[in-house]
């Protein structure tokens, strides 16, 4: 009888041993509580938080309302990545752009970019063609440019690591060269190993 019970328990435990404790693949809410948290890298929830803070702060400041022809036109300038990881800064700027567009307060140009490189070359070509045919300048000069920097500060004590990611953004009026709005969001994470959730 004891042997049967022992065999039964062993058979039940076998899938656990073979399959290990790995979680089967499943969907989670992007940026939600089940997201993986790693100390030394920026996680998607960090980008969402930083973009949310920047957008809320910018909208609350009223800086975008001070243009002659609303909505304000925005051009994206350089976002410097001073962290130890390779990141696509569009993960931050695109969220801000979408949120600002949805707010009705700003639109972003896709035909102007750093060094004359357009985000949408086809739109730029068509725009130039249209301007040539009509002999009129259709391009609206941006009211503001958005630039920034992402900085990582690392601290370590024994097995505990700590990273602070600073998301710094500036909205500049190109006519005056003055920053009309500046925002900074700092996210600090501490731990010994990656974890799930907050």
């Amino acid at each position: 009888m004891k042997k049967i019970i022992l065999l039964f328990v062993m058979a039940a435990a076998l899938p656990l041993v073979v399959g290990g404790c790995a979680t089967p693949a499943h969907y989670i809410q992007t940026g939600g509580r089940e997201s993986l948290v790693t100390v030394n890298s920026i996680n998607i929830q960090d980008f969402i938080q930083a973009a949310n803070d920047a957008t809320s702060d910018l909208l609350a400041s009223g800086a975008l309302d001070k243009v002659a022809n609303p909505p304000a036109v925005l051009a994206i300038s350089r976002i410097v990545n001073n962290t130890g990881q390779q990141i696509d800064t569009d993960l931050l700027t695109k969220k801000i752009r979408v949120a600002l567009l949805n707010s009705g307060k700003a639109q972003t140009t896709t035909t102007m970019g750093l060094g004359g490189t357009a985000e949408d070359p086809m739109a730029k070509g068509l725009q130039q063609e249209s301007e040539f045919k009509s002999d009129q300048k259709a391009t609206r000069t941006p009211d503001f440019t958005l630039s920034g920097k992402i900085i990582q500060t690392i601290a370590k004590d024994g097995n505990t690591s700590q990273s602070t990611f600073s998301f710094q953004l500036s909205l500049t009026d190109p006519k005056t060269g003055l920053a009309v709005w500046e925002g900074e969001k700092e996210i600090t994470k501490q731990g010994g190993r990656p974890s799930v959730g907050f």
Binding site: Q29, G31, N52, D57, L59, A60, G62, G104
Partner: protein
């Protein structure tokens, strides 16, 4: 011999009792210049444990210069230890329809023992008229 066993046990018990206890003192001006525009709120409590630890003191609102609704919620930690929680703001238009917001994060936060703390958010569009904030213990 007994003392050797009892002493570490007593030390551990003392640590367990006092180790994580923190509490916050504060001071502020008694004659307030600013007046908070408090609003009546409706609460749904499904986690009584969290509600006992971190309670809602009140909600006040204002409009930003750009015409966006800004909400501020005051929280109070009724315990003498740090509490961790997450919250998320949801926004609704005049028809009660939820407004999809690309940057609507679940924000991890913490509150020290005995601390009173404010959390706030600005509506993503001027069409937002109502809000809901979800809280969950971490």
């Amino acid at each position: 011999m007994k003392t050797r066993i009892l002493l570490p046990l007593a030390g551990a018990a003392l640590l367990a009792l006092t180790g994580c206890r923190t509490s916050m003192n504060s001071i502020e001006n008694a004659q307030k210049t600013g007046q908070r525009q408090m609003i009546s709120d409706s609460r749904v409590i499904t986690d009584g444990s969290l509600a006992k630890k971190v309670s809602f003191v009140g909600v006040n609102q204002t409009m930003t210069p750009g015409g966006f609704l800004k909400i501020q919620i005051e929280l109070l930690n009724r315990k003498h230890s740090l509490q961790r929680f997450s919250y998320q703001f949801e926004w609704f238009d005049a028809n009660g329809m939820q407004i999809n917001n690309i940057v609507s994060p679940t924000v991890p936060d913490q509150i020290e023992g005995g601390e009173s703390k404010f959390i706030s958010s600005v509506a993503p569009t001027s069409a937002c008229k109502d809000f809901r904030v979800k809280f969950i213990e971490n």
